[in-house]
Amino acid sequence: MNWRRRHVLGLSDFQPEEMEFVIDTARSMEEVLSRDIKKVPALRGKTVVNLFFEASTRTRTSFEMAGKRLSADVVNFSSATSSVTKGETLLDTARNIEAMKPNILVVRHSASGAPLFLSRHVSCSIVNAGDGANEHPSQGLLDLYTILKVKGKIAGLKVAIVGDILHSRVVRSDLHSLGRMGAKLWLCGPATLAPREMERSGAVVTSDIREAVRGADVIIMLRIQLERQKTAYFPSLREYSRRFGLNREIFSLAKEDAIIMHPGPINRGVELSDELADCERSVVLRQVESGVAVRMALLYLLAGGSHAAH
């Protein structure tokens, strides 16, 4: 397959073959990661800038690790406050960085569509590392990869995603990655956070976690974003946990070999009970592993690699 993409802004226009191609490349990367010396010279001389306008440790670290494993020079630019409040526009900030001639900008921003906007105005490649409530494509791909590793297939699986659907960019990317590969998606959360319009995506929307989990092959629990609670979407964390938390009893409704995923960071005892977070069916840490490999694959392909690395 010829990789013609200059940017990775979202999965909305990724066809299954292209996702499989990225996953194949990620597999080769994972092989690199299993070696003693976990580094290849594929991106030597290339510069990757992590341009993060929103607090993030794990995604930034994962991209940084991915870039370094490929021998790229990785520079982190973080701005906790948005460019708007700082007085400099997003475009000005990006153009300043661009003037320093990086090859790839990895962008996280609180505004949906911000990486797409930048891609129209800068000449380097853009990777979306999460924009507002729009997409988080590398997460969508690493979720796909993780499930493939464990289940061997996607088509026909029942995948329940539980939590704050409304504000989740993970959901919107998973809908494309898992949905397009043939999984049946169930979106579950308080009605205030699981809008009915989401049914237009082809998913089932419900506020009944039992219904969502019953017979599921994969359960993805989303972090309840306490920091988003400017106005309350539900009465209390206690009530939330009671209705929408995953515990042993609810989990027993799922298929016997069901797995639990979480994009992290976990609020233990809120969306996920302490014991389930650490149980053998939780693949949370394998997601993190897959994440580095998938991000290596994306950086590698964007930097000009055309097929699986060796």
């Binding site: 526009t89 997003l90 609180s110 949906s112 569509g113 797409l116 507002g132 409530a133 960019r169 989401m198």
Partner: protein, 433 residues
Amino acid sequence: MLLIKGGRVIDPASHRDGIGHVVLEGGKVREILAGDAPGGFEGEVIPAEGKWVVPGLIDMHVHLRDPGYEWKEDIGTGTRAAAAGGFTSVACMANTNPVNDSQEVTRHIVEKARREGSANVFPVAAVTRGLEGKEMADYSELAEAGAVAFSDDGKPVENPLLLRRAMEYMRPFGYRILSHAEDSVLAAGGAAHEGWTARKLGIPGIPSAAEEVAIARDILIARQIGGKLHIQHISTRMGVDLLRMARRAGLDVTGETAPQYFTLTDAALEGYDTNAKMNPPLRGEDDRMAILEGIQDGTIDAIACDHAPHEAYLKRCEFAAAANGIIGLQTSLPLSLALLAGRKVTPSHLVELLSAGPARILCLRNKGTLAAGADADVTVIDPDAEWEFRPVDVLSKSLNSPFLGWKLRGRASATICGGRVRHSTIPGVAADA
């Protein structure tokens, strides 16, 4: 003397629709002659054969950004855009800097318009001082200085008691409040119509109910005290229904919509197009259909474009940070003419919506009609002209329009304001700058 010869004269206020020759003299309409054109006419002749000749169009909802934001627009450029779009009169909103809540600002607008304007400018003054929603402005002296109505447009008057008192106080004087109907708590944080497009794009939604709750509240207050109310930029189905209900109840409540609300839907937001960002937001297809129905059955009294110029960088940014609003004065007429194709309105009804209606709502004497003695404000329209709206055509200082690049049908061939030709595309007819 000026003769507009041989056009189809459409003047709903005097129930006229037929070929005629309009004679203007001394800034007034002298007469309209039927039959052959008068021979030996001494004065300028505007040939209007095959065109419509209508009372000068009136846009009752524009932002001229003057004083205070002259880099976005000023009275000169805004009224030149108006004239090019066929408008001889505009009513400008009070959210200037300083806010138009004092005689000084009202006079500045009136006087600057007289000096530099290419169209008549009717200031709308603030309902509350500084648009802060706390205290009433001094309505009588604002009206004396030239304010034709009152509005906090850009934001609602949140406090229902204050709105009630203002409307009630104004009632004996006949002043009308133009309401930007929005429940700001329900709308808080939103940037697009709450529907599938916003959900898909991950943009926080503005529910239709945010507008409808406020429209209902304002209407009920008007009913309680018998006040005069006008609902601005109606964008939702239930908004139209509420206005219809108010009308059936015999209330003095009028309403406007904008071309963008019957032309576009929230689908225009795909790709995070910031030129499709406005408030109220572009709604769904069902809302758009309801706006068309409201126009067709006469519920909606006026089309007003909510011309809202913004400098480029406020739109060249991430969607959430982008400013609300679009320019509209040069596209309002062709987009409205498109209603004819769908047989939603007759030509006469269209003139009602774009001229007679706003004149009546704002009580603009001698405007909105071509009856003898009316002001010599006339628009000559070529309803079939096909043209593309390009950036070079824009006379505003700002280019924030989702309609750039659109192929449009119909435009103003000539705009005559107070007997002076202020815009012309007719060969041999020169316009005053």
